[in-house]
């Protein structure tokens, strides 16, 4: 024999709240989904992104500056080397060899010029400075 179910009398305001929660849920159509997505995009776009964009800006500036410095350094190095070679190409032949030293010796007359000639020839015959 089954016992009769017990009936509980709840206060009116609690019943009212429970009835509000028990409302049927709306069906999520694609239109509703799109509206929610657009609202979220608007909301997050308005958020300040100062920290991330600031550090990115500094990184770009820093990279550009470093590239500029490296480029200037390399150009000056290359220019320096070429300038040295051009300076030693006394006869303008395009190569630095004994004929440049010979021309220097033939035209030199000031004291200490023999030292310049000897120094130039030392560079010409140096094995380390002249790869095979």
């Amino acid at each position: 024999m089954n016992p009769e179910p017990e009936t509980i009398e709840l206060p009116g305001d609690i019943v009212e709240r429970l009835e509000r929660l028990d409302k049927s849920v709306s069906v999520l159509t694609p239109a509703v989904d799109r509206q929610v997505r657009e609202a979220a995009a608007v909301h997050f776009a308005q958020r300040p992104d100062r920290v991330r964009s600031t550090s990115r800006r500094w990184a770009v500036v820093g990279t550009l500056a470093a590239s500029l410095v490296a480029g200037v350094f390399l150009v000056r190095m290359q220019t320096g080397m070429e300038a040295t070679m051009l300076a030693n190409d006394i006869d303008g032949s395009g190569v630095v060899d004994i004929l440049d030293a010979f021309t220097l010796a033939r035209t030199a007359g000031a004291p200490g010029s023999q030292a310049e000639v000897d120094a130039l020839i030392a560079n010409i015959v140096a094995l380390n400075g002249n790869p095979p």
Partner: protein, 150 residues
């Protein structure tokens, strides 16, 4: 008897393999040679530069001697530090003279003698290159270079 011989075969094979793998005696023969360097030109030779090397790097330059012409100095220019240090497996030699054209060598002239140390018993393959030759006025002149081993 046959069984004994067959049984010895693996041992013989191992012995042959071991003897084959034994390191060969290193080719450490060292000898010395001198190369007379000649330049030939139809015009008076006032400046010259050459480079000498051995194609397999089996050469070390141990000394550089002056040539036969009195127009040039006591010793030509070369990398003295590399030669003294025993690291010169090639050599660049050059010299010039400010003497008048009449005092300069013409034709075939010995300009230098290079003393070298050679490794191994294989005949060296010298590579000699005339880099520059100039006349009394400093202009490039036509010339050829060769060497002789006395």
């Amino acid at each position: 008897m046959r069984n004994r011989l067959v049984g010895l075969l693996p041992g013989v094979a191992v012995l042959v393999a071991a003897l084959s793998a034994w390191p060969q005696a290193a080719d450490t023969d060292v000898r010395f040679a001198a190369l007379d360097i000649f330049v030939e030109s139809t015009e008076p030779l006032a400046a010259w530069q050459f480079e000498l090397r051995e194609s397999a790097g089996r050469m070390r330059v141990v000394g550089v001697e002056n040539g036969e012409s009195t127009a040039f100095g006591d010793a030509p220019y070369y990398d003295l530090e590399a030669v003294s240090g025993g690291t010169a497996d090639r050599i660049i030699v050059a010299d010039y003279s400010l003497n008048a054209a009449a005092e300069l060598p013409t034709g075939r002239s010995r300009i230098a003698t290079i003393h070298v140390q050679l490794e191994g018993t294989t005949a060296p393959d010298y590579v000699l290159n005339l880099v520059a030759a100039g006349g009394a006025s400093g202009e490039p002149i036509q010339a050829s270079i060769d060497f002789d081993t006395p």
